[in-house]
């Protein structure tokens, strides 16, 4: 099999052919094959080995070329051979001159490579979040998503009958598919199961989207008719849990306790249409197909040829009216809350409504841009400084007769070499950061957020780097190649004045401003992070084991279900080591809750467009004390709160605060859609259910015996190890009904830890970024102030000769450093203010304009500025008066 050599091998061959022409084609071919094989080996041994390999090859090439030139007589005239020889000399010279400035090289390489890596990774995450096309879909600009909602509620999910109506009634759409995201418990019920993200889809899902499975097939109507116990597994699941076994089709996989037959394998990196999570399990959508009011699925359609989204939207306005007449019970036609259908392209649909996520992502992307800006202005400054330090060296070369062209070319080579190295190193660091991040993300409750380095992003960062290098590397090169030889040779420079708005100071100002934004954001996030650690969860999850079951799998009647759960509670309570038990539909911070709409709290006047909602969950008596939720007023539920007894509810403090300004909850009534509703018997301190945002939503608890649900979570509190009682809990279920699958088992503590983890990771990542930016800015300030001092040694020396005290010289330099940074302070504060508003959603329990963070940020920055100016200041105070007098 003959392959095309790799790019680097071809480049190597090219150089070899040019620099060592006598080697001949045959030898060059052989050498390049060996090069490629060696590079493969080196790559397999890790990035450092690869780097060492490349460095060795460059050395070997240059040495061989040098030897070749010594042995072959000099060709007359310049010509091509001459310019190649110049190139070789330039490269060697650049190596030598860079080796003499290790500090400069290290700072440039470090700041650029980390900036490239950090911004590439951030952009990649944002990209994975919502910019990139959904992978594996065919002709996705023809795909639309259809939402059933209202003006008030915006885009909402649809029900299965809605989906069927859309499919049957629409002329503008070729076909329509339904899907729903779902978390599956994967694994034999007898083992601890693994929770993975997946989808339930209509049979035509893969065909409609044009997703090509790598093995097997999608779903068929027969699969659904047979109960839908088939699955298409994700590529990762195939690789990791089945070792990529070719015979995987036909094998069984337990999902939520039921065996499913594997019929297909999805392509690698397949995600849902609406979110960036990797899909590991797909199975047919079979449940609730006949419930028109149960809206929980997503609908996606493909436009007919020539039809636009706007036309489809117009058609669906009409369909909505038609459906509202046909099904008044599930289609509200009530003013602003009237049910509407929204048709949006995939891209439009991906930008969330109200866009808090878009704001976060946009903000994060802006931060990434800031980092590049800081790093590039830093390096630009270093280059300017370096160029002026080398005036003498360049002047000597000019005086000795080097043409300006050669000096220019040599500086160009040096810059290109440095910036390519920075770019290469940047890619390595990117690779490293990405794998670090992937490891972290794998620990999240939402496994599989796919972060792959986007080639486009990396190229963008590289281009930015090289542009910086060329722009700022060449401006001084142009200047330097036409130096005024005499003053430069004298070691003096034309008198320079401190120019506040000079290019260099503006660059530092930009750095200071950018760093201020990052430092402030960092501080806000760190403060918010420490808040997440001390966050009042409103309950105590330690020592509680949970086990989820859903008796609808066994088609229990409500009566049978209640009896089962009553028995389960009793048996579990009798277990040794179990101190308290309870059942609940939803676990705080596990991500789910029921939303009750159309509430009418007694005495509360809802606005004309207001639709009063609250989240709700069903619990059993004793649940509050078991989870140590705090009952602030009234009573807990009791065994008497049954069917037939007055309907009761316990609400959280947020509910009382929101609807009853008198602060009294107990005794009030909450109507429901014009009906009598419930009486409030108790008030419980706020417990965050959905997420950790500081504003807890109004929430209601209802007693199980008045509000039956077939899917519940059994909780048991123990003073011992909760892990140890999980198997005992499972045994109780099995003894009551050996055929009832256990859907999941978790420790309550793990659930709340998982909930705080995304914030922790984001905050930690951004905090690291902020520190990095601060270090960069300090370097920049140090460089510029240091340079300004070195330019003015003459002036300083004169001042000293005229009797200025060293202390005052230090003060002078410090003052300049501070003044330079002030240029960036005001724009920085404005930027930080904007950034903090964008971050509002992720800041836990604090105001974005946190005085401590803002005061601290400015303080840290000023201290850094002073610290960075101190060394040059001290150097200035030691300037030798005699030296400057002599040069006059």
């Amino acid at each position: 099999m003959s392959r095309r050599p790799s790019v680097s091998a071809r480049f190597h061959a090219f150089l070899l052919r040019r620099l060592v022409p006598h080697l001949g084609d045959e030898y060059v071919r052989e050498a390049s094959a060996a090069f490629e094989a060696l590079e493969r080996d080196a790559r397999a041994r890790g990035p450092m080995h690869r780097l060492a390999f490349l460095a060795r090859e460059v050395r070997s090439l240059l040495a061989t070329a040098g030897e070749h030139r010594r042995q072959t007589p000099e060709p007359s005239g310049g010509g091509r051979g001459g310019s190649l020889e110049h190139l070789r000399q330039d490269v060697l010279y650049a190596f030598r001159s860079l080796r003499r400035a290790p500090g400069f090289v290290a700072v440039t390489l470090l700041s650029l490579s980390f900036a490239i890596a950090v911004s590439t990774v951030i952009f990649s995450v944002v990209n994975a979040g919502f910019l990139r096309d959904v992978p594996h879909l065919t002709a996705q600009d023809r795909l639309v998503r259809i939402f059933t909602g209202s003006r008030v509620f915006g885009r909402g999910p649809s029900s299965y009958p809605d989906f069927e109506d859309y499919r049957d009634l629409s002329q503008t759409l070729g076909d329509v598919a339904a899907m729903q995201t779902e978390t599956f418990s994967v694994g034999e019920p007898s083992e601890r199961t693994r929770r993975v993200h997946g989808l339930e889809v209509s049979e035509n899902y893969f065909d409609l989207l044009g997703i090509r499975l790598v093995r097997g097939r999608g779903f068929l109507p027969e699969d659904v008719a047979a109960g839908g116990r088939v699955t298409v597994i994700g590529y990762n699941t195939w690789q990791q849990y089945f070792d990529g076994d070719e015979g995987v089709l036909g094998r069984a996989l337990h999902l939520n306790g039921h065996p499913h037959t594997i019929v297909g394998v999805a392509p690698p990196g397949m995600v849902g249409v609406g979110d960036p999570l990797l899909v590991e399990i797909v199975r047919p959508l079979v449940s609730y197909r006949d419930q028109r009011g149960r809206r929980w699925i997503d609908v996606v359609g493909r436009l007919q040829d020539g039809v636009t989204t706007t036309q489809a939207q117009a058609e669906f306005e009409a369909i909505a009216q038609q459906l509202a007449e046909a099904h008044p019970e599930s289609w509200s036609s009530d003013g602003e809350a009237a049910t509407r259908i929204h048709v949006l392209s995939l891209r439009e649909a991906r930008i969330p409504e109200g866009a808090p996520m878009a704001a976060i992502f946009g903000g994060v992307a802006a931060l990434a841009g800031l980092i590049m800006l800081i790093a590039c202005s830093n390096v630009a400054n270093l280059l300017l400084t370096r160029a002026s330090r080398r005036r003498a060296e360049i002047a000597v070369r000019c005086a000795l007769g080097a043409p300006g062209r050669r000096i220019f070319g040599q500086l160009l080579t040096e810059n290109l070499l440095l910036f390519s190295a920075a770019g290469g190193l940047g890619l390595l660091v990117t690779h490293w950061l990405t794998s670090l991040l992937e490891g972290r993300l794998a620990a999240l409750p939402i496994p599989g957020m796919e972060v792959s380095v986007d080639a486009g992003v990396a190229v963008f960062a590289l281009i930015l780097t090289v542009l910086t290098g060329l722009t700022f590397g060449l401006i001084p090169a142009l200047q330097a190649s036409r130096p005024e030889v005499v003053p430069a040779l004298k070691g003096t420079t034309p008198a320079t004045r401190f120019r506040l708005l000079g290019l260099r100071n503006l660059l530092v100002g930009a750095q200071v401003g950018g760093s201020l934004v990052l430092v402030l954001v960092t501080l806000l996030l760190v403060r918010s992070l420490s808040y997440a650690d001390t966050l009042d969860l409103g309950h105590d999850p330690t020592g509680i084991a949970t086990l989820s079951v859903d008796v609808s799998h066994r088609e229990y009647s409500e009566e049978e279900g209640l009896r089962f759960y009553e028995d389960l509670l009793e048996r579990t309570a009798r277990l040794e080591d179990v101190d308290a038990v309870g059942l609940a539909r939803w676990v705080p911070l596990a991500g789910g809750s029921t939303v009750y709409g159309g509430l009418e709290p007694e005495g509360y006047q809802a606005g004309p467009q207001e639709y009063v909602t609250a989240t709700a969950t069903v619990v059993t008596p004793g649940y509050f004390s078991m989870t140590r939720m705090q009952l602030l007023a009234g009573r807990d539920f009791s065994r008497e709160d049954r069917e037939g007894a007055p309907a009761v509810v316990v609400v959280n403090q947020a509910f009382v605060d929101r609807f009853w300004p008198d602060g009294q909850g107990v005794g009030k009534r909450i109507g429901l859609d014009g009906e009598e509703g419930y009486q409030v018997v108790g008030v419980v301190a706020d417990v965050p259910y959905r997420d950790l945002s500081p504003e807890v939503m109004p929430h209601m608890w209802r007693p199980l015996w008045q509000s039956y649900a077939p899917d519940l979570v059994l909780h048991a509190r123990t003073a011992g190890d909760p892990q140890a009682i999980l198997p005992l809990m499972r045994r109780q279920v099995a003894e009551l009904d050996p055929n009832l699958p256990v859907i999941g088992m978790d420790l309550m503590e793990d659930i709340s830890d998982n909930a705080t983890q995304p914030q922790r990771i984001l905050s930690a990542a951004l905090a690291g970024t902020g520190l990095f930016a601060l270090a960069l800015a300090m370097l920049g300030i140090y460089g510029v102030v240091g340079y300004s001092v070195s330019q003015r040694t003459r002036e300083m020396g004169l001042r000293m000769a005229l009797g200025a005290e060293p202390r005052r010289m230090v003060g002078l330099v410090l003052r300049e450093g501070v003044v330079i940074s002030l240029i960036g302070l005001v724009p920085g504060l404005v930027g930080a203010f904007a950034a903090s508003q964008l971050l509002r959603a992720v800041l836990l329990g604090m105001e974005p304009l946190d005085p401590l963070a803002f005061g601290g940020g400015v303080g840290i920055l000023l201290i850094s500025v002073v610290a960075a100016s101190l060394a040059p200041g001290i150097r200035a105070s030691r300037a030798d008066p005699m030296a400057s007098l002599r040069s006059e």
Binding site: Y27, V28, S32, R56, S60
Partner: protein, 120 residues
Amino acid sequence: MTASDAVERFIPLAPHSLQILLSLLEKELHGYSLIKDIEERTGGETVLGTSTVYAALKRMVQEGLLVESDGPPHDASGGPKRKYYRITPLGRDVARAEGHRIHRLQEMIAETSLLKGAAS
């Protein structure tokens, strides 16, 4: 020119040329495996770049120290046919002469105080 002259004009031999001859003493190798063999034999102390090796190979073939060959009949690598190198009797003599030279050097060094007291 006597046989000994033919050998002597190569002495002293460049270190990497000697390494190449040493690797080819017992076997025929192609460039890639030659570089690997030298690296292994020297415990990673000498790792040659491909340009160095191929420039040396070409020169040594021209000078008659090596010949190109087709390699072993069963080349298991499966890739495109690669060129192998075999040491010539002259190459062997040159390697031996260089070995003697270095050995004599070692003896001379040992007779001085240069390395005395250094860890053995």
